[in-house]
Structures are given as C-alpha cells and as structure tokens.
Amino acid sequence: QKEVEQDPGPLSVPEGAIVSLNCTYSNSAFQYFMWYRQYSRKGPELLMYTYSSGNKEDGRFTAQVDKSSKYISLFIRDSQPSDSATYLCAPRGNNRLAFGKGNQVVVIP
C-alpha cells in the first residue's frame, strides 16, 4: 500500500461547481497535512495546510482532516477555470513530505 493514495482523475466540472477531492494515508506518523497545487508544466505550490482534525477555510478553499480514519479532503467552492490544475495531497511527518499522485481537476467555462 502506498503511503498516500489519491484518485488521479481527471475530474471535470462546470465553472461555479463545488469540487471535492479526497486523499487517504497510511502512516500514523503524519501529523501535518498540506495541499499543493501544480499547474501543467510548473512546480507545485503550497495551497493550504492544517495541523489538526477538523476544517480549515481559506477563501474558496476548505481543507478537512479526519485523523482517526486517515482521510483528508479539499473542497473548492465556486470553481473557476483558473482552478484547473493537479492538487497534491502532502502529509508531513518524520521531517519529510509524502506526496500523493494528485487529483487532476478541469473546470470548464
């Protein structure tokens, strides 16, 4: 089993829809949870991070962590074409990030 599992997609949604992305992890040493966004042919950039179970909101983005089930979610409200990218779940523990394969999202105008 890989440390971090994500369904790579692609997930196509119409502009304005809510996007729901999920990620599971297996290593209990992971204590911090990041979401990185990667545009095509670019390096990843940090989108959000959270330390604890529960929700964290930042503008149109909400990150949700359930440590008991090792399940992480990212929600994008009012999706825009500029949100079209790959979203990488990246829990951190033992001084390193472990990246999932990413969820590719396409927002259709």
Binding site: P8, Y32, M34, R41, K42, G43, P44, E45, L46, Y49, T86, L88, R92, N95, R96, L97, A98, F99, K101, G102, Q104
Partner: protein
Amino acid sequence: DTAVSQTPKYLVTQMGNDKSIKCEQNLGHDTMYWYKQDSKKFLKIMFSYNNKELIINETVPNRFSPKSPDKAHLNLHINSLELGDSAVYFCASSQTPLSDTQYFGPGTRLTVL
C-alpha cells in the same frame, strides 16, 4: 525575482551518458530538496540537505549523487543514465526541515533516449 531556479529546463541525452542539473535558491533558506516526478505524476523525494548536510537520502540508485557547495545551491549529478531516469526533476527549498512550506523550482524535464 525567481525564488528557486533550475538549469537546464530541458535535457535530452543518450543512455549511458552522465549529466548534471543545477539548482539555486535566493530565499535564504537552510534546506533544499530534490524530487523526481515520473510519467504518472507521482512526486517522490530523493534527497534533502540542511545547511549543506545530507539529512534525507531515500532509496535512490547510487548513480545519483547530490552536491551542496553552499546553502543556496544543490546540484544533482547522474551517472550512466538509464531509460527509467526519464522524468521531471524538481528542486525545492524550505526555511528549515520542519517548515510547512516548500518552494519548488520550475523543474528539469529529462529525457533519456
């Protein structure tokens, strides 16, 4: 100003050759990383240096040798290139090894023929 830069951006070479990729960061960070992203987009850490000292060395063939001449630079030398080395290699940096945010470079797309 570019925060994390890599050269070259593209690298096409024959099997068996030796090549180097260079990375520089102007953020004043202590920690730098090399990641490999394969054709399935899986991003995997290879090495990490903190203050020029190797702190993470994942299971990587010893044909790959990182070098950090100073805190702002981390280079990657690859000997005897193989077809399976074809990937995008990303350099990243962070303030410390425990920092939440890593800043990634634009990537070096390596194609081995």
